[in-house]
């Protein structure tokens, strides 16, 4: 059943709040503000506290979270969000802090932020990190601006960024925002960077190659050293998209693969919740020679205290008004301190084990477009089922009927009818088996009753929604 809008609960004069009394002698606002600057009306809801609680509780019940069940979105790393991290982020001494308080009042927070930077640098093999970017794409933009600033500082003219066709859409979009032109290269038949094509694309105007490794097919670019050499020999830099770090943490480090800049999505690998689309954190790491270009300020430590260093003449400047998504950083730090180096490595091991188990169980029923070994995620194709009348989209919607979330679909773009599955390490074999059985059952349904799948979902709070209508006749507010 649909839940009406909060504005429809309104009743004139109804209130759901109380504020402290004014106490002071009455102030005539007209003495200070011209009459024409006061607003006439404000059509916000007039509802009680109970109305608000019931309404948003009802809305929450129309949602599905990681605590509801498996969330196998490829490249999204929907792992369990530990409750202890939420508790810690709510400790008053850590959360009730104003961004312009004196540094002497913030030494505790600085201590853990500094350690978090060091831990992330160790995990990724980089020399310095900035915690300022507030999302993965924000991190990409920051990293590319650092690259841009570096070349400008050196007086070297570069205007191109190479992006493989299997890359996340944010990669080319971020590079364009940073003022670069995009050169897209096609993957080879194994789903990896085509070395010949790369060589062809590289020239002295290439500032960077952006790469996800393992790539969005879950396949590790085994020629990474050669790729790095090709780019570096031409005077370019290597950018690592950290969306897939959960595949290699503790096993390999982007820094050791000769990447110069990277971003890490703390809301993926480091377990902070996605919040229905944010907040995230896209912390950026660089090699030593790029340190001067990091966004201002940089957290430093002298023999007594931690402090923000604003005196950064070569910095790209700020990318966020304050210091980034601090509340997210607390949670990521809690996670890292819970697991430690050993736990993080075990995480990777099990993420990869889970994904490969699912792949082994599903590759017969669906097509596996790329045979190469994959790590924490894999991509199936629904072409066989499509021929029988039900698309990947239909099957994804049918999964919802069974109370399970769907994989990432139609991405990467290089695979037809793609289903990109990433179970993460926090699911166990029982949950995986249930999901596998459901997918197999849906495939049988496609065989026997394709209409059932084509018209899915049937059991959700709303049925298949008309996206074309939404776009053609936009209704974006009440």
């Amino acid at each position: 059943m649909a839940e009406r809008l909060i504005i429809d609960y309104s009743s004139p004069g109804r209130k759901g709040y109380s504020l402290p009394p004014l106490e002071i002698p009455e102030v005539d606002m007209g003495d200070y503000i011209k009459e024409s600057y006061f607003r006439d009306e404000l059509k916000l809801p007039e509802v009680s506290e109970v109305d608000v609680v019931r309404h948003y509780t009802a809305l929450s019940e129309l949602n599905y979270g990681v605590d509801s069940g498996i969330y196998p979105l490829g490249s999204c790393t929907m792992k369990y969000n530990p409750k202890r991290n939420e508790d810690i982020a709510r400790i008053e001494g850590l959360s009730q802090l104003h961004p312009y308080q004196d540094e002497e009042d913030l030494q505790g927070s600085f201590e853990f932020l500094y350690e978090l930077k060091r831990d992330l640098a160790e995990i990724s093999g980089m020399d310095e990190m900035t915690l300022q970017p507030a999302s993965g794409a924000h991190g990409e933009l920051t990293g590319l601006l650092i690259i841009r600033e570096y070349f400008e500082d050196k007086g070297i003219e570069k205007n191109k960024v190479i992006v493989p066709d299997s890359a996340h859409g944010t990669n080319p979009a971020s590079a364009v925002m940073a003022g670069f032109d995009i050169v897209e290269i096609e993957s080879n038949k194994d789903g990896m960077v085509d070395i010949d094509e790369l060589k062809e694309a590289v020239d002295d105007k290439v500032a960077a190659l952006m790469l996800t490794n393992p790539n969005t097919l879950g396949i590790f670019e085994k020629d990474i050293k050669e790729i790095a050499d090709i780019i570096h020999d031409a005077g370019g830099l290597l950018y690592y998209d950290g969306a897939n770090l959960n595949a290699i943490m503790g096993y390999a480090r982007p820094g050791d693969m000769d990447f110069d800049v990277l971003h890490l999505n703390l809301h993926k690998t480091f377990s902070t919740p996605h919040g229905g689309g944010g907040p995230g954190s896209g912390t950026v790491g660089v090699k030593e020679f790029l340190r001067p270009y990091l966004p201002r300020p940089v957290l430093k430590k002298d023999d007594k205290n931690y402090y923000w260093d604003y005196d950064r003449p070569k910095s790209i400047g700020k990318v966020h008004a304050f210091y980034g998504n601090y509340g997210v950083l607390v949670k990521a730090f809690s996670y890292i301190k819970t697991l430690g180096g050993k736990g993080l490595t075990r995480t990777t091991e099990n993420a990869v084990l889970n994904a490969n188990y699912m792949k082994a169980k599903l590759k017969e029923e669906f097509s596996l477009p790329y045979q190469e070994n994959s790590l924490h995620e894999f991509v199936l194709s629904g072409v066989k089922q499509k021929e029988k009348g039900a698309s990947t989209l239909n099957m994804a919607k049918r999964l919802l009927d069974y109370g399970q979330y769907a994989p990432t679909i139609y991405f990467p773009l290089v695979v037809k009818e793609a289903m990109m599955i990433e179970p993460t390490e926090t699911e166990n074999i029982d949950t995986l088996n249930r999901f596998i059985e459901t997918l197999q059952k849906i495939s049988e349904e496609v065989e026997n009753n394709p209409e059932l799948v084509k018209n899915a979902p049937h059991n959700t709070s709303v049925r298949k929604l008309d996206e074309v209508k939404a776009a053609r006749q936009p209704d974006l507010r009440w």
Binding site: Y17, L19, Y37, E86, Q96, E122, G327
Partner: protein, 445 residues
């Protein structure tokens, strides 16, 4: 402690299914030369109890606002946050969900976004809003890039009354896109309109002003509207504080084309500067809507004709348009937008006005008293909202540290922005006793 629950037996069963002896074999696709052949040097492995003790200990090295009476503002405000908000956003269905890719299992998130967009439009007096951006600073930068795309011009007139950090973020984003920033100075604490007029011409993409501005002053919006309207292609971007709009005429009524700003004051905890949320709204016209950065939710219907919500107009976005997208925005600040939605619903029509009014009145009560003191002078007595600039011949640093001894954070030292003076903000939370005590202490200096 980790969060892996497969047992040894189960792991062996899985390995058998995969057809390998050990997990290490799966990792063989990583070349030896780039493998990490040692353990990560990351401390940890703490139990829940140990971790909580450790973090509690760290928190005690801070001096949080719990210990102080705070007059700090400058872009992050200590307003009252209704207790129900944290309860509601702590429902796992909200905070552990992903971006609503599968709309049919994400109606909660999507309807919240739709309600958020509706209330942001209402507050700002605009036709369309997006689902949130990363923070006030980056939202201002995105609004500027959007205006440049719409006008096809490169020149941006930035008021010096815009938050200095926002100006810096705008430069970081704008310079690579060859935008040409011209700063318009101040007269007193508001934008110098003569200077604005002199710099306005047909090549300007946008005029950016903050209302109320960084110093808390209400800009002369009527005149800015007149000036801007002389040039058809020039857009007016108004950066605003949503709380002030509980009382003030919305920017939409002053000819704004894009309204943006920091949504933190709408129920979000201070959290040392983030996560906050940037809001962005604009005119309900096709040429604007096509250029909006980030996600937008819309209402539609399902196959049975029931109302439902989806992410829409996605052909603007990076996952579809890649290098042709309006922005690289992907992850936004959805949970913070949910907080602000619940805040706006709870406070509602009367509450938002009351917060604005009480903040305004308490701030003016305090400012009048400070202005009467010999050693202090309020610079924008005649036009501020709930934040004002104070000048003093005394060393500012000492004034603030003396107040801090008395457990009062007496405002932001503007030396942080290479300026003299103190910026004080007063919210509805401050009591008469706190205000009087501050005046008393300042009087004794």
């Amino acid at each position: 402690m980790d969060y892996v629950s497969n047992t040894v037996t189960e792991r062996n069963e899985m390995l058998k299914e995969i057809g390998v002896e050990t997990v290490e074999e799966i990792f063989n696709s990583i070349p030896e030369e780039v493998k990490l052949k040692r353990e990560l040097k990351v401390s940890g492995g703490m139990s829940e109890l140990a971790l909580k003790d450790y973090m509690q200990e760290i928190s005690e090295k801070n001096s949080s606002l719990v210990h102080y009476t705070s007059f700090l503002g400058a872009g992050a405000y200590d307003h009252y946050v209704p207790g129900i908000i944290d309860h509601l956003i702590s429902r796992q269905e909200f905070y552990t969900a992903y971006t609503p890719y599968q709309a049919e299992l994400s109606q909660g998130t999507l309807q919240v976004i739709y309600e958020y967009q509706s209330m942001i439009c209402e507050l700002t007096g605009m036709g369309v809003a997006n689902a949130s951006l990363l923070d006030g600073g980056s939202a201002t930068a995105e609004a500027i890039l959007m205006a440049a795309r719409i006008s096809r011009n490169k020149k941006i007139l930035l008021s010096a009354g815009l938050h200095p950090a926002y100006r810096e973020v705008a430069h970081t984003y704008g310079v690579p896109k060859n935008l040409n920033f011209v700063q318009i100075g101040l007269e007193g604490t508001t934008t110098n309109l003569t200077e604005l007029e002199e710099n306005l011409d047909k090549d300007v993409a946008a005029v950016v002003v903050q209302y109320p501005n960084f110093y808390g002053s209400i800009e002369e919006m009527e005149k800015i509207k007149e000036l801007k309207q002389q040039y058809k292609k020039v857009l007016l971007i108004v950066v605003t504080n949503p709380i002030a709009l509980g009382l003030l005429k919305p920017p939409g009524e002053f000819g704004a084309d894009i309204v943006t700003g920091e949504g933190q004051p709408l129920g979000n905890p201070l959290n040392y500067g983030g996560p906050y949320l940037g809001f962005l709204s604009c005119k309900d016209e096709r040429k604007y809507i096509r250029q909006i950065p980030g996600r937008i939710a819309g209402a539609t219907e399902d196959v049975e004709g029931n109302v439902g919500y989806v992410l829409t107009l996605q052909t603007r976005e990076q996952h579809i348009r890649r290098d042709k997208a309006t922005s690289n925005m992907c992850t936004n600040e959805a949970l913070n937008a949910a907080i602000s939605t619940i805040y706006m619903a709870t406070m509602g029509k009367a509450g938002l006005r009351e917060v604005a009014e009480k903040s305004f009145k308490k701030a003016h009560y305090l400012a009048e008293k400070i202005d009467e003191l010999d050693k202090f002078n309020v610079l924008n007595m005649d036009n501020f909202f709930y934040e004002f600039k104070v000048e003093t011949k005394l060393p500012v640093k000492k004034v603030l540290s003396d107040l801090k001894q008395e457990k009062i954070l007496g405002g932001v030292n503007l030396s942080r922005f290479d300026e003299e003076g103190i910026l004080l903000s007063v919210t509805e939370k401050r009591t008469k006793e706190e205000l009087d005590r501050l005046v008393q202490l300042m009087e004794a200096m």
